[in-house]
């Protein structure tokens, strides 16, 4: 770790302010000029009927005011320009905790675009999409092997929908047992989708407080786990990056009372290929293919949230499932116990292609190394920063480490300031203010796809900021200085929402 070059500081005459014509790229709608078009439409066919003869005027609309008119080069320039205002994984470390921003392999993209996949219609007869069905089958098998559970539904569109499908299956299984349970237990460290999901699945949430180690207190749990409780939803490792070493006892407590142990698998990267949730006593677990399995986030999606289930939950899986008989593969719509569909068609198929591509690109041993290196990198960062940043929990970290701004708060520098200042050093900030149980949390997940020198650069930058916070706190509070725009006024946006351009 070399001595840090300080990142830029503000001056009167801030040259970073972009003044070139296109750095303030206007909205598409503002760029519109009459008469432009970005496509060439086929000429009309001879003998075509007229629109007015096909649809009565009252069903038609007029020209849409405000729709832009742009040429192809306008569109290319617009999106190329604005894209450059984003920081990206392809530019460097993106250590967002809980988000597993790992390298998105490009071969995934090539495979998802194979015409045989990309061109297949979701309503085609099974006989014409045997390749798709076989792919879904292979992916389900791989995820079964990695989770140690009985089956996997590939239908959910994202992690939250996987949770939703999972909790509906829990509910259905309980009902099949003749039970109607009211509560779901959720630790206070949980991701927001967990309580939101439990609510939409028709449960009431009971929050469990984390103990001083950031884990669950077994006695608390024993007390809370009544026969009115349908499930405990827990994240493994939890959002502090800590593995609940009593997980099998936890499962036993839950199971003894007839409840289900729901695993939030968003953090699967910590142990993928290294240990199996099924072995831990987890009954149902969703995975985020857009985290552990490298499908790109794309600015917020699309992802996919397959949900793996134990044998008892299999009858309730969303329909259709992929099955195989002597004629080949087929979609099985005839699943009487099913919770039904959570979406149209067969799921985020293109995302599933990418995930399977990744799985084969790594192989079983490779996936084991993924978890190992993810954990090693997180611990290296922990070691590199723990003297300067407050570590609220001393428990061993797996794939991420959570600091707080306690030491910097002394100088009135907050987590937000640190995050913004990191941008001037060329890094995306960590996840901030989550988990909620840590005040001013800085949640750092380097993943396995950054090398040592990049971790060193990041540590160097974080240390430099800690130093700046002591010696020049205003500097940190005013950051960032080198980004396409300065610190944005989020309060104003919420107070006076402008949610669309108006013609």
């Amino acid at each position: 770790m070399s001595a840090p070059t300080p990142a830029p500081t503000p001056t009167e005459n801030d040259l970073r302010t972009p003044r070139v014509a296109w750095q303030h790229e206007a909205l598409l709608f503002e760029r519109s000029r009459p008469g432009r078009i970005g496509v060439t439409l086929p000429p009309s066919e001879p003998g075509e009927p007229a629109t007015a003869d096909l649809l009565p005027a009252e069903l038609l609309r007029g020209e849409i005011d405000g729709m832009p008119e742009l040429s192809e080069v306008d569109v290319i320039r617009h999106f190329t320009r604005i894209s450059r205002k984003n920081y990206a994984l392809d530019l460097g470390l993106y250590p967002l905790g809980s988000c597993t921003m790992k390298y998105n392999p490009r071969i995934n993209e090539e495979m998802a675009r194979l015409p045989g996949f990309a061109g297949s219609h979701p309503m085609q007869p099974d006989s014409t999409v045997q390749g798709n069905l076989e792919l879904l089958w292979e992916l389900e098998r791989a995820l079964v092997d990695l989770t140690g559970l009985a089956r996997v539904s590939l239908q959910p569109a994202a992690g939250a929908q996987g949770e939703f499908a999972g909790m509906l299956m829990v509910k259905a299984a309980l009902e099949a047992r003749g039970e109607k349970r009211k509560y779901v237990l959720i630790p206070d460290s949980a991701h927001g989708t967990n309580p939101a999901t439990a609510h939409f699945a028709g449960f009431e949430v009971k929050e469990l407080l984390s103990n001083a180690q950031g884990t669950l207190d077994l006695e608390d749990l024993e007390r809370a786990m009544t026969d009115e409780v349908a499930a405990l939803m827990m994240t493994v490792p939890n959002t502090l990056g800590v593995f609940e070493d009593h997980i099998r006892e936890i499962a036993a407590i839950v199971h003894k009372k007839g409840g289900f142990l729901y695993g939030d698998g968003a953090n699967f990267n910590a142990y993928v290929g290294k240990a199996r949730p099924g072995d831990m006593g987890i009954d149902v677990l969703h995975m985020n293919l857009h985290k552990t399995f490298t499908t790109p986030h794309g600015g917020g999606g699309p992802g996919a949230g397959p949900v793996a289930v134990c044998a008892e939950l299999v009858p309730f899986m969303p329909a259709p499932t992929v099955e195989k008989n002597e004629n080949g593969f087929y979609l099985d719509h005839d699943r009487p116990g099913s919770i039904g569909r959570v979406r149209s068609f067969q799921g985020q198929f293109g995302v599933l292609v990418r995930a399977l591509t990744y799985i084969y690109a790594m192989g079983g041993e490779g996936l084991m190394r993924v978890a190992e290196n993810a954990v090693l990198n997180a611990n290296y960062i922990r070691k590199g920063l723990e003297d300067l940043y407050h570590l609220p929990y001393q428990t061993p970290s797996l794939h991420e480490v959570v600091f707080s701004d306690k030491h910097q708060q002394v100088h009135h520098v907050s987590t937000l300031d640190i995050a913004k200042r990191l941008m001037d050093y060329g890094f995306h900030p960590p996840t901030i203010y989550f988990p909620l149980i840590v005040s001013g949390a800085l949640m750092i997940e380097p993943t396995e796809t950054s090398g040592k020198e990049e971790l060193d650069d990041f540590i160097t930058a974080m240390r430099a900021i800690a130093h700046e916070a002591e010696t020049d706190p205003d500097l940190v509070r005013g950051a960032p200085y080198t980004t396409p725009v300065g610190r944005c006024d989020e309060a104003r946006a919420a107070r006076n929402p402008i949610l669309a351009w108006k013609p």
């Binding site: 439409l41 604005i82 984003n86 917020g300 149209s344 040592k452």
Partner: protein
């Protein structure tokens, strides 16, 4: 792991070689990486999970390519008139070239606006496009796809109408959408009431009026509906509003928004549906992009993300995610939805598509779809091959035909001749068991129509044992 094989260290996705690993371990202060997994105890596997690999690009192309080659696809392997909520449209190549830029592809949700202005501006543009197309003033940053967008729209209406207990919906809404709603609503406190259609193919207005009462949360209608028939939004809206209910307009073929009266203009309070037609490939059903739009006064009840305009520290225009107190990461179990990851990249593709087609192109494309479908419809009538349009109300680029013979064997027969003629309606609508849903887009050249008609004529000739059409 075979004893003879040394453990894998280097891998193209793992930039930590032997030496780096040693240095990292030394700095952390442990002997081996397994020491870091001590909290897992004996849960740690001794052997890797048995999964094929590691594969290089060549092996992956070989393996996945072989799977892809087992599929047959429209245009290459057969003529297709499949629609039913997923439409084959030309995708301009520009979209993929731009989407694949690392600056769009490999970025997270734009929680840090100073490092995400590109994504935020694009979301704001997507939202704007959807407001223009739906005729409603607020649209969100995307939903997973049409069916869950519809379910979320109903849940949103429920939040806005807390005391009411009934949702009335047209059976003309896509079966998957209704099934998804049923799943989403199964633990919630309202009933779903479905209303059928009249002989024109539209939702039965009288039955609708009868079903809606002062307990009704909302009325939902799709247009063009699942049979391809264009509904008049105002019929349902007026009925809904008369009882203080909200009106939801569902759209599965977003291209129709360029030509048909907008849901907003037709009185809908909420519009939702699927925008796959705007630049997304069929991809066996996903990823697509759901949309949801509503009125300004309802924006705080909306699910999903919203980008909004603001200023930065120097007063320059900037965009941020906003009104996030609606969302799960802030409001937890009281959030308007559990949605977190959405379909940002698909929404971006749609934004690019709409900017390329633009005001004139989108309209022309919609009209050419309308006309091409009409040409098929007219040809079926004119040639008398036994296929007849089932409904008389106008349609857009999709319509229902009565086959005049059992549908399943017919479809199999046509499939064998390289034609996917449409979707059999019988399994979802037993009363339409002799009917097919056929879609026609700009990707169906006139040759597709001619080939289909000729095939039907040959079947007819075979059946009647003489040349058909007889007078030829």
């Amino acid at each position: 792991m075979a004893a003879s094989k040394p453990p894998m260290v280097a891998h193209r996705y793992l930039p930590t070689g032997e030496q780096d690993r040693r240095e990292l371990l030394a700095a952390v202060g442990v002997e081996s990486v397994d020491a870091l997994f001590s909290t897992l105890g004996d849960l740690v596997l001794d052997e890797p999970v048995a999964i094929a690999g590691p594969m290089g690009d060549g092996a992956l192309r070989h393996h996945l390519g072989a799977l892809a080659a087992k599929n047959q696809v429209a245009g290459r392997d057969f003529v297709s008139f499949l629609g039913g909520g997923a439409y084959r449209h030309e995708v301009p190549t520009v979209i993929d070239h731009l989407l694949l830029r690392g600056e769009f592809l490999t970025v997270y949700t734009p929680y840090q606006p100073e490092f995400s202005q590109g994504t935020l501006q694009a979301i704001f543009e997507f939202q704007t496009f959807l407001t223009l197309l739906t005729g409603l003033p607020v649209a969100n940053a995307s939903m997973y796809e049409g069916a869950s967008a519809f379910a979320e729209a109903v849940l949103m209406a429920d939040r806005l109408q807390k005391k009411r207990r009934k949702v009335v919906l047209s059976r003309g809404i896509h079966p998957h959408y209704r099934a998804t709603l049923a799943t989403y609503a199964q633990n919630l406190d309202f009933d779903l009431v479905e209303v059928g259609w009249d002989e024109s193919g539209r939702t039965d207005a009288a039955a609708l009026a009868a079903a809606v009462d002062d307990q009704t949360i909302c009325v939902a209608v799709q247009s063009p509906n699942y049979f391809g028939v264009v509904e008049a939004w105002s019929v349902a809206s007026d009925i809904a509003h008369a009882q203080g209910a909200l009106s939801i307009g569902v759209v599965t073929e977003a291209l129709s928004l360029a030509l048909l009266q907008s849901p907003g203009a037709g009185g809908c309070d909420i519009a939702c549906g699927e925008a796959q037609s705007f630049g997304l490939s069929l991809a066996y059903g996903g990823p697509y992009v759901g949309f949801l739009a509503g009125k300004d006064e309802h924006k705080r009840a909306m699910p999903g993300r919203l980008a909004g305009e603001t200023v930065d520290s120097k007063g320059q225009r900037a965009w941020v995610l906003t009104l996030s107190t609606r969302e799960q990461h802030i409001r937890r179990e009281k959030a308007t939805s559990n949605i977190c990851t959405n379909q940002a990249l698909c929404a971006l593709a749609a934004t690019m598509y709409l900017s390329l087609y633009g005001k004139v192109g989108l309209r022309q494309l919609a009209e050419s779809n309308l006309k091409r479908a009409a040409q098929l419809r007219q040809s079926l009538v004119a040639t008398g091959v036994g296929f007849a349009p089932r409904f008389r109300a106008p349609s857009f680029n999709e319509f229902t035909v009565r086959a005049g013979e059992p549908v399943q064997p017919l479809l199999r027969d046509l499939e064998a001749q390289g034609i996917l003629a449409g979707i059999a309606l019988g399994s979802d609508y037993p009363e339409l068991e002799d009917c097919l849903l056929m879609a026609v887009t700009e990707c169906n050249p006139m040759a597709d129509i001619e080939r289909f008609i000729a095939t039907l004529e040959q079947r007819m000739a075979a059946r009647i044992g003489m040349p058909f059409p007889t007078a030829r």
